[in-house]
Amino acid sequence: MPYTVAATTRTPALIVYLIDISGSMSEKFDGATRIDHVNEAIGNILQRMVQRSTKGEIVAPRYRLGMFAYSDAPVDILGKIATISEVVQKGRPKLSPSNATNTHDAFVAARDLLKRELPNLQGKPAPMVCHLTDGEYTGADPQPIAEEIMRLGNDDGQVLIENIYVGSGFAKPIKKIDAWPGIRSEDDLKDNYAKKLYRMSSPLPESYAEVVEQEGYSLQTGSRMLIPCNSRELIELAFAMSGATPTA
């Protein structure tokens, strides 16, 4: 069955974050700027990963993270693929908004990194790319690159892409986040860019749905790994999904 290899010290999960830091990320919603919500959510998911990797006092290296911030061009903010311990030691990344939204180049950076890494990922969890953006791309269309990435993979499954869309892309508002089953069709979305992101997102594997459920959510297997976020809680849910590789 795909997506069942657990994140362990010997088989760590690789998660690549692509974070849009265009100027509009400084706009406010739900009491803070979008980028502030993202910074907080990154801190929370790092804490969650640390908790999932601690079985005493030592933090086992169960996760490896890549992190690109992008506006005009992607910047590798960790400088390498790093363990959580290295990320925390470096200081949690603090992102601040910049200019354009070159989503295409960010996905190219992720694809190139995955192509380098995949030969060493046999027997390990299928990697994940978690992309966060708040608006339409400038420059080339990122969809062909995203589709190329989703065709890559290892023996655990094809690379997963999650998209977090900070904006109001829903056709209907979500009333109870913890009971929300996720997006199952393009018709659930109202704006065209959200629909494009739907096509750039993987279906949620069963094993991930189980882990997300443990966090108190009800996302269904097969719903798209696309979370349009218009509240702090939805950003929280979206990042919880990014850290949902099963652990031993």
Partner: protein, 357 residues
């Protein structure tokens, strides 16, 4: 309100009408302490928070079931079942207080997630999982003498054979569920939620996923009195052999053997383990070999056989007198707990000092 406290946050829990204030311990690693990460461990069913009674040294673990864990309502029954074991040496974490609507209403009103959370003593020592991760950092374990390993192995055999004699299986024997304290020569077995009383009908979900420890021939329907024998033999052998640098060096990161290495004939890692164990006595290596070659859990040597052999080996050593005194498993009086002592430290009236997370 979501229960997700930061390090050093204080939390007032109402325990049978008495409010006790706890402080959440920071992560013991300074890197994580610096960013205020709490000392907490999340598994597939629950998160365990390390806390202490405010302004005291009394440490506790608060085990909070995951939001949608289907076995939440079984927790109280599990606590009742475990109460019978709280005087058994090495099973200190069976002394539990379950936060139910009857026992902790104000707390559950504030944090709905804490319904069926369990408060239990925090067990000091080094988790065997950490010993696997980094034996340089777990220095006290990296420099164990052969004699200390023998003592610790004996302690573990005593705890497990006590369970075996009561026809109880732990079902989750793996490194994260062993805590070793070299100073007091103590081994505590934790992770008791899956404990299974053979022959009894019981609610609760038994988890038997033990990568690197479950007998390869084990099948889901087969939780019987022999289930612990194979993982028990491997863990006993690991502890007995830990004095040997070669064994420590070959140890996998989360289990000594990878799941696909179990019972492989001629495996170098197995022979390293067997050699180190036989340095105590060849009979112990024979028990390990018996488990390794067994066709099924019930054909593995019993834990009682391990215990008897270890006692015989120890009695042949010069420390005979010590064994007869300090090392003999004894019933102990339980330490007073914050939920039943008359004047718990950190006790305060509702609404007094203390920040809420």
């Amino acid at each position: 309100m979501r229960f997700n406290p930061k390090a050093d946050a204080t939390i007032a829990l109402s325990l049978m009408g008495t409010e006790v204030t706890f402080s959440v311990d920071p992560h013991p690693d300074p890197k994580y302490r610096a960013v205020k990460f709490p000392h907490a461990m999340t598994g597939d069913r629950s998160t365990i928070w390390h806390m202490h009674v405010y302004q005291s040294d009394d440490e506790y673990a608060l085990k909070v079931p995951n939001a949608k864990y289907p076995g939440r309502s079984d927790v109280q029954e599990i606590c009742t079942r475990l109460d019978l074991l709280k005087l058994v040496e090495g099973l200190e974490s069976s002394d539990r207080f379950c936060l139910t609507r009857e026992a902790a209403a104000p707390t559950i009103e504030l944090y709905a997630e804490l319904e069926y959370a369990v408060l239990m003593p925090w067990i000091r020592g080094t988790s065997w999982f950490d010993a696997h991760q980094d034996h340089e950092r777990t220095r006290s374990l990296g420099s164990l003498s052969r004699w200390q390993c023998l003592q610790l192995g004996h302690r573990l055999a005593c705890v497990l054979s006590e369970l075996e004699s009561r026809r109880i299986v732990h079902c989750g024997l793996c490194p994260e569920n062993l805590i070793v304290d070299t100073e007091s020569v103590r081994v505590e077995v934790v992770g008791l939620d899956d404990i299974h009383y053979c022959g009894a009908t019981q609610n609760g979900r038994t988890r038997t996923k033990l990568p690197g420890y479950a007998h390869p021939a084990y099948s889901e329907s087969q939780v019987d009195g022999a289930f612990d024998r194979f993982p028990g033999a491997l863990l006993l052998a690991e502890i007995l052999a830990w004095f040997d640098e070669k064994v420590r060096g070959q140890c996998g990161a989360e289990s000594y053997f990878e799941p696909d290495e179990l019972q492989v004939e001629g495996l170098g890692k197995f022979h390293a383990l067997e050699d180190a164990v036989s340095q105590h006595h060849p009979d112990l290596a024979r028990l390990l070999g018996g488990a390794w070659k067994s066709a099924a859990p019930d054909s593995c040597p019993s834990i009682q056989q391990w215990r008897e052999t270890l006692e015989r080996v120890m009695l042949t050593k010069i420390e005979y007198a010590w064994l007869r005194g300090a090392s003999r498993p004894a019933r102990r009086n339980p330490r007073p707990r914050c939920w039943n002592s008359e004047q718990p430290q950190g006790h305060r009236k509702a609404g007094a000092n203390g920040e809420k997370p």
